[in-house]
């Protein structure tokens, strides 16, 4: 992942997403790992992470429910929906339920305004929401019936890049980077993985989702991925 960029700091945000995928939130240990990997101080990493809404520097519930209340959803009753969700969860935006199942957030526009009001659960979309549909959704989530659609919090992209950089004929920096990619061991994942041993951190790691959503399955012919520096990362799944 670091090798995909001409300057390694560019991989900071993708790496923080990986930390969040493994720990369920951007943990202090994850910040230190990323800092070490990129030659930054933990304060620089944390200072960047804190700018972005998607990075949670404190643990969150199993499901992060982000309810959009921006203009289009508001006109479609998002605040009334949010009130209903608040009452069913007994939690306000920014809070986690007592059973640590749900963390509620009031989100800005999620770009699903044609199906307002909408919300996301661990960044998976649910549009045309009504109080009744929320009740059903919450029940399904609690029962673990949506494991295929809704991965654990922090899991952004379940499809891994299949190849490294190939454009050898490009400008000098691209060649340099691709040489590095060809020789360097897979950078981020093993490091982060082996250091994730403290019981506190381990308990926040949720079971990995093995099934892919229907639409994402790749055609048969493409399952055999060419080898490459990123391939080992991909095969971890």
């Amino acid at each position: 992942m670091v090798a995909l960029y001409p300057e390694k700091r560019s991989s900071l945000i993708p790496l923080l997403h990986l930390v969040q995928e493994q720990d369920g939130y951007v943990s202090p240990e994850g910040i230190e790992d990323v800092a070490e990997l990129l030659g930054l101080t933990p304060a620089e990493v944390r200072g960047t992470a804190s700018f972005y809404d998607m990075f949670h520097l404190e643990p969150v519930g199993r499901y992060l429910v982000a309810v959009c209340t921006n203009i289009a959803c508001m006109l479609a009753g998002a605040y009334e929906l949010l009130e209903h969700i608040e009452s069913t969860l007994d939690a306000h935006p920014g809070e986690t339920t007592a059973d640590e199942m749900f963390t509620l957030e009031e989100a800005e526009c999620l770009a699903l305004c044609g199906n307002a009001p909408c919300l996301t659960v661990n960044w998976r979309y649910f549009g045309d929401m009504t109080p009744e549909r929320w009740d059903q959704l919450a029940e399904d989530l609690r029962a673990g019936r949506l494991a295929g659609e809704v991965p654990p919090h922090g899991t952004l992209c379940r499809v891994r890049r299949s190849v490294g950089l190939l454009a050898g004929g490009g400008p000098q920096e691209a060649r340099r980077a691709s040489r590095k990619a060809a020789t360097a061991p897979p950078p981020a994942w093993p490091d982060l993985n082996t250091q994730r041993t403290t019981p506190a951190a381990a308990s926040t790691v949720l079971p990995e989702v093995t099934s892919q959503p229907e639409g994402l399955k790749q055609p048969e012919g493409l399952k055999k991925q060419p080898g490459g520096p990123m391939h080992e990362e991909g095969s971890r799944q």
């Binding site: 700018f51 972005y52 006109l75 790749q218």
Partner: protein
Amino acid sequence: MSPSKLGPQIVTSRFGRAASWTLEPYLASGGYEGLRKALSMSPEEVHQAVSNSSILGRGGAGFDAGRKWGMLRKAQPAYLVVNGDESEPATFKDHALIEADPHQLIEGALICAYAINAARVFLFIRGEMALGIERVQAALNEAYEYGAVGERVFGSDFSVDVVVHPGAGAYICGEETALLESLEGKRGYPRIKPPYYPAAIGLYGAPTVVNNVETLSNLPFIMRNGAEAFFSLGNGHSRGTKIMALSGHVRRPGNYELVFADVTFRDLIYDPALGGGVREGRELKAFIPGGVSAPWFGPEQLDVPLANEKIAEAGSMAGSGAVTVMDETACPVRAAWRISRFFHRESCGQCTPCREGSGWVDKVMRRIEDGYGRTEDLDLLLDICDNIAPGVTWPPAQTTICVLGPSIPSSVAWAIRMFRDDFLEHVKQGGCPFPPDRLPTSLAHA
């Protein structure tokens, strides 16, 4: 209006088709032919074709794409950064394009990369669009396998790599210099201008083109069918088609691809094949013509054509193509408050007028909506707006590094201008005179 106003579909032609995001159906419908055509031409000829098509950037500013490429400083390395950080409230066209047709976006990006001689493309996709990121990454893996990306694309001398880069939740990263900062692994602070354009000093200080998802998604069509086919649609500066993202109190909210400059707001909102009219037969109160940064329009502007220059003449902006409709039951104070709250939450905090002004406006608007407002608050609000963007005119005066700050006054100032009585009624009644918005159980969705 004839049904032909709905077509021809350039960028949404594969919407709704089975597995439209995978390679096989993409190839079956002319996929990657545009790239093959481009590779048979010289980069300069590709650039010329795009210039001839007169395509304006679809991100919000409406900057001529061919001109943007032409401003590129001649130096290597050069980069193409695709702006897929769509976060302008009520805009949901790029989200749909990314999820439904990622190969079209990748092909468009490759055509651009060839024309500007960029060996590395970064697809910056908004982090919240997790499914979109997964589909783009899966499509990119397929494109590598197919030989459309990588070393010697389709056997030509052109080599290019594409990297999918997820955002992490910050509206400001839609601003191109903030996006570049974010891509460099920093806080998304817009850069001080000059330099005005990343074409001179962009990513890592190298010449960089930043183009919107919809802009690039048009390129395969332009290459395949020629610039003339694109230019023949629309008129004036507004050529080709434009996706209008229609939301709010209409019967059929959704994305509609329409011939640029050929359709009016009335068509978009009331045509049975498009918006289908205001929900439950109510009266139109107001609409926002181009994303929440734009000044509001009322029923008297319904006949303004959907063209960049016509909307600008009428005193607002086409922006991202997001149209939000409010019916007679909508509370203008509540709507303008929610928009100012959005800017308050999303201000990056670099510039005082924006950082302090947005919070101040948010609080005063909330006070009025909650029934604790005073008559003099209206003058106070306009005074704050005047301090954020002097004159409170459109287009606004610039007092901040980026345009987020000057976007704050539009909704508040125009709401006060258009609906002063509603504001005063809040003060008089000590509360909101409008019913809370009801859930749209009766809505049919496009």
